[in-house]
Symmetry: C2
Subunit: 220 residues, 2 copies
C-alpha cells in the first residue's frame, strides 16, 4: 500500500509527542511522591476485579486513586468506586489505548488529595497500549488462565514492555487445564527474569504477595 | 495533539485503499463460488479451537481452507492444520488486524483447489479489526463466557460490524457465574436482532447449530 510509509511517519510523530507528555507526567508524579501503576491485558482478563481488590486492600493504610480507560461505558469506574477510592473514567471512543495526554487531562481538573498510589487501568487490548508510555512507575500485564498459555509468544511486545506479569483466575486453572509451567516458560522466553505472580481475585489468593511486592517498590 | 487530524486523514486513506481491495476480493470470492467467513474476538476467546472443530466437521463433505492472522508465531496454523485442511499463517508484525491486501497476497501464490468455504481468523483484538473489510461474506464475533457479560457494551463497534455472535466455552459458564441473559441483552442493545449461538468446543455442544446456520447461508 502506497500510504503505508506516510502512516508510519505520522505515527512516529504521535509517539514522540506522547513521550514528551509522559516525561512531564513522570516528573510530576515523582515530585508529588505518588507511585503510579498501569495495568494492561486482553479484554476480560480480570483487570477491574484485580484493581478493585487492590484498592480495597490498600485503602485502610494508603491514599489511593484510579483512572480507567475504555472505548465506551463508565461501568468500570462504577465498579472500582465500590472500593471507596476516588476513580475517574477516561472514554477513548474508537482509540484502543490510553495516551499520556489523556492522563494529563484527566488529572488537570481533578482536585485530588495527595496520593500514595495512582492506578491506571488501560483499555483491554494486547497490542495498542504497548507503545504508549503513560509516565507510570510500573506496568503490570495480566494474563488469565482461561486465555491459554501461548499468549506471551503471540503478543510479545506487550509482555516485553511490562515490568511484572500476573496470572489471574487461578481458581479456574484446573478446570481449563492451564499449564502453568508452560505459561511461565513462555513469559520468560519473551521477557527473561520477569516476576510472575499468581492470583485468584475471587478467592483472594495471591493478593498478599502482590501487595508485598508493591510495598517493596514504593519504599525503594 | 496537533498531529491528530492528520493521523485521522491518513487513516482514512488507508481504509479507502482497503475497501477497494476488499471489493475486488469479494468479487473474486463470488466468481469462484467460495463462501468466506471471518472470525474476530479478544485474544483467548477460543477462535482457533472453534475453527479447528469447524474445519474437522466440514472436511468430509466440503472443500475448506483457512488463513490465520497473528502478530507473531505460526502456532495457530499448526493447530488448524491438524484438521487436515490447507492452512496458511499471516504474520502481521506489530499490526493488530488483518487487511484486505494481506488476504489477497496470501492467496496470490497459493495453489489451492476450488473451495466451498474459506475461513479467515483475524488477530485477537476487539478494536482494530472492526474497520477493515476483508471481502468476507460473514463476520463472526466470538465472546467467551470467561470474559464477562459486559464486553458488547464496552466494545460496541466490533459487535456492530459482525453478522453473528457465538458465545464460547459454555461448559465454564456455571463455574464463572456467567449471566447468559445479560450477555444476550447486551449484544441486542448493540446490534438488535443479531443471531447468538452458544457452543462448547471442548464438549462439542452447539456445533451442529452453527453448521446448520452456515449451510443455510451457503445455499441462499
Amino acid at each position: 500500500m502506497s500510504t503505508q510509509p506516510r502512516l508510519v511517519e505520522v505515527r512516529k510523530n504521535v509517539l514522540k509527542q506522547n513521550d514528551i507528555v509522559a516525561r512531564e507526567l513522570r516528573q510530576r508524579f515523582h515530585d508529588a511522591g505518588v507511585f503510579v501503576v498501569s495495568l494492561v491485558s486482553s479484554p476480560g482478563s480480570g483487570k477491574t476485579a484485580f484493581l478493585e481488590k487492590t484498592l480495597t486492600l490498600l485503602r485502610p493504610d494508603f491514599r489511593v486513586a484510579a483512572l480507567v480507560g475504555d472505548l465506551a461505558t463508565e461501568n468500570d469506574a462504577a465498579r472500582l468506586a465500590r472500593s471507596g477510592a476516588p476513580v475517574r473514567q477516561i472514554t477513548t471512543g474508537t482509540l484502543c489505548h490510553l495516551e499520556a495526554a489523556m492522563i494529563r487531562d484527566a488529572l488537570t481538573d481533578w482536585a485530588m488529595e495527595p496520593l500514595d498510589f495512582l492506578f491506571v487501568e488501560n483499555v483491554g487490548n494486547l497490542v495498542c497500549p504497548s507503545s504508549y508510555d503513560l509516565g507510570e512507575n510500573l506496568r503490570l500485564v495480566l494474563l488469565s488462565v482461561t486465555e491459554g498459555e501461548d499468549k506471551p509468544l503471540k503478543y510479545p511486545t506487550i509482555f516485553n514492555t511490562a515490568d511484572i506479569a500476573v496470572l489471574t483466575k487461578m481458581d479456574l486453572a484446573e478446570a481449563v487445564e492451564f499449564d502453568i509451567a508452560a505459561a511461565e516458560r513462555n513469559i520468560q522466553r519473551v521477557r527473561p527474569g520477569m516476576t510472575v505472580l499468581r492470583v485468584s481475585t475471587r478467592k483472594g489468593e495471591g493478593m498478599s504477595d502482590w501487595l508485598t511486592y508493591l510495598y517493596s517498590l514504593k519504599k525503594s
